[in-house]
Symmetry: C2
Subunit: 436 residues, 2 copies
């Protein structure tokens, strides 16, 4: 510890986008306070970015510009490497590996890199006794990585879940608050810069899945396994679903859920109906939240900003502070070589209630045929709402059902048969209900 | 770090009440998992407690019983001392000082010790490069000490507030949910063991004040100053206030609030009306929550169990894990010698809305006299509700007022004059409103 605390901590930053700019700004603005707390300064000595001329609102006169990320990682003036480039391969991966091989601790905000190569990078870091830290990779300013790695390190975790993507939550919140369609709200989010021009990574649930895979490893001491995350996005949510949820006392949120089951660990990302009075239902807009069920600590919920330059910079600098203080503990809590293989639970064994919305041809016998298909799979119904016919020509009418607890297998089989029977004019909508 | 990580960490525990028993149970139950994470075992080697014969549901056959806490602190088989005795003076303080003087890091759950002697103990610890850790002293299983000390170390904090006492929140939640009186619910809480036989420390707001004083020091880098906390308890809250709050769209919570103002730092504990839709209003029963406003991280809210053997044990063991990993950073984040003197803000400068309930003699002119007194202090009223007369004899009737934002000085002066005018038959009720 004594050795680690002597002299300033010299930081090299690769990538000066929104987050990188925020990190430099924070380190300059709170330089004195940080030095007071740590007994040493944290100073940025080298950077690389695509555009050296762009005004980032920070003084870069004392900083060495280098041609690429690997040059920053290897620079003699750099003690710790901060990777803010993004992407699972390419310069981000190459430079992080270079830094670790050069004996330098790494801070990264790169969820894709961790979800794909986290275990391997942890091995590289631990072999050399180096920190590899990534608080900013999941849930922005919420200190959930530290909570799982450190505060809850003595607990057996049963479940970790949360709203991990601000774009999706913004869209769903606005659909709910203003009764607008998905397409309409998405267009607005894109115009405002809350959603990308190609929004697939966010709205398809992939961003949430990456973050969830990292949380799963930390919570359960298993190797990161992104490929085993079941993923459904929010693109299929209709205004009719939001409206029905409202009437039934629910809100629709895109949740990432990882939990222990008897058969293994279940990782899933999908739209979820949560009771309107629950804490998670009150998390609106770009705010994120993470709920953790731990055997000793109990149920913890952390709520805060999921993205943004300032919140993410706060998490990056928190990691730098830990490194400045000499922290070299394993990146995923458990030493990488001892992370258990990920054992996937069959999602079909998931048990819970379901919301189903069908668009049913209004013909004699249709309703009876549908409820019979449900009964065949022993799916029992808590409530059924058949809206009044929109036309008198036998055209489709919406039918909404809430089931009692049943299995994924049973509900899917019933809906497949209902669809095959030809009583509906579009694929049945099915949303899981969680009593969070 | 290397040296710190070799061999088991040998723990001495003074006090085997609820929390102490939980710590021993946790360390036994998760012994292997912890050793896997840390690369070293955490084992309890020595204990002391009033009753050595009591069955605590844990195996104590390998543990050395010692006559008192100081003996545990000084025992050669003890590397780290855990103080779970409680109390600001006496054996707790003496043993903690003895441990630090003997060169041993300390973990304590003792909020009173920290609120009274925190800064001095921190000096003792830092002089020797030792950890003094106290995650369990505030908000039970919620990792708020670590969040402030580490995750938010690079932030300037504007405000920290929360529900920090489970007994008060249990009583207020039950009064609200079941429309019962304070006395009735308190008696039930005492019967169930949620409240002490002498409940003053909890319901008088003193427990919350101790915890708030510790959070204030961590959040603002100032010396702990318990004596400067303004304290009001919940003993004056009537069913009529709960009912009126409900009608007006609020819940009443006992909050601890510390915030920066232009004149210094304000620390206050008092019943508070919070909007019914806010996250804090949804925190019921013995659950605690802490909300933090930070300049970079933004608004964070942490919710979880505020007490209980298991949750508190989780926090104690989290501290032991940090110590096992070699953490020796300053107890209050900023080195104790550099903590700023606490500069108190005048509470009279606090600005916000107020709820006022008066019991008014139903005589001509009373209402006009009251509203005139308000106007004289330029307190403007958002709403006034005069309930219908309960009798026809000119006896007192309840009048409820909600003010627009005003100052503590103005509202107190107005209420003092109203009381002096003789139009009310009891001291006016006044509850601050916070738009959390």
């Amino acid at each position: 510890m004594t050795e680690a605390k002597s002299g300033p901590l010299r930081v090299g930053v690769a990538g000066l986008g929104t987050v990188g700019g925020g990190v430099l700004k924070l380190l300059q603005e709170h330089r004195k306070d940080l030095a007071l707390r740590l007994g040493r300064e944290i100073i940025v000595t080298a950077v690389t970015a695509r555009d050296a001329k762009k005004d980032r609102g920070v003084d870069l006169s004392q900083v060495t510009w280098l041609p690429d990320a690997v040059a920053v990682a290897n620079a003699t003036v750099v003690d710790v490497f901060v990777e803010l480039i993004g992407g699972e391969e390419g310069p981000a991966r190459i430079a992080v590996e270079a830094a670790l091989k050069a004996g330098k601790p790494v801070v990264t905000a790169n969820k894709a890199l961790l979800a794909h190569h986290g275990a391997g990078l942890a091995v590289l870091a631990e072999k050399r006794g180096l920190a590899l830290k990534f608080e900013a990779a999941v849930a922005g300013g919420i200190p959930v990585i530290k909570a799982l790695r450190e505060s809850l390190a003595s607990n057996r975790i049963a479940r970790v879940s949360g709203i991990l993507n601000g774009t999706c939550n913004y869209i769903l919140s606005l659909m709910q608050a203003e009764g607008r369609t998905f397409e309409d709200v998405l267009a607005e989010a894109q115009a405002k810069g809350y959603a990308e021009a190609d929004p697939t990574f966010d709205i398809g649930g992939f961003d949430t899945a990456h973050k969830l895979a990292v949380l799963t490893s930390l919570a359960f001491g298993t190797r990161v396994s992104l490929k085993d995350v079941y993923i459904e996005g929010i693109e299929g949510i209709r205004a009719a679903d939001i409206e029905a949820a409202e009437e039934l006392g629910y809100r629709i949120k895109l949740l990432g859920v990882a939990q222990r089951t008897e058969t293994g660990i279940e990782q899933r990302v999908h739209p979820t109906m949560v009771p309107v009075g629950s804490a998670i239902a009150a998390v609106n807009g770009v705010t994120n939240c993470v709920a953790i069920d731990a055997d000793y600590a109990g149920s913890l919920t952390l709520v805060g900003p999921g993205a943004g330059a300032r919140a993410t910079a706060s998490s990056v600098v928190a990691d730098l502070i830990d490194i400045a203080r000499g922290d070299t503990s394993p990146p995923f809590g458990v030493p990488a070589a001892k992370l258990a293989p990920y054992r996937q639970a069959a999602l079909k064994a998931h048990a819970g209630g379901y919301y189903v919305r069908l668009s049913v041809y209004d013909k004699p016998g249709a309703f009876a045929a549908i409820t019979t298909r449900m009964a065949e799979q022993t799916v029992s119904l808590e409530s059924i709402v058949q809206r009044k016919t929109r036309n008198a020509t036998g055209g489709p009418v919406p039918v909404i059902m809430i089931t009692h607890e049943t299995t994924e297998q049973a509900i899917r089989t019933a809906l497949d048969k209902i669809e095959a029977d030809g009583h509906v004019n579009e694929k049945p909508q099915m949303i899981r209900i969680e009593r969070v």
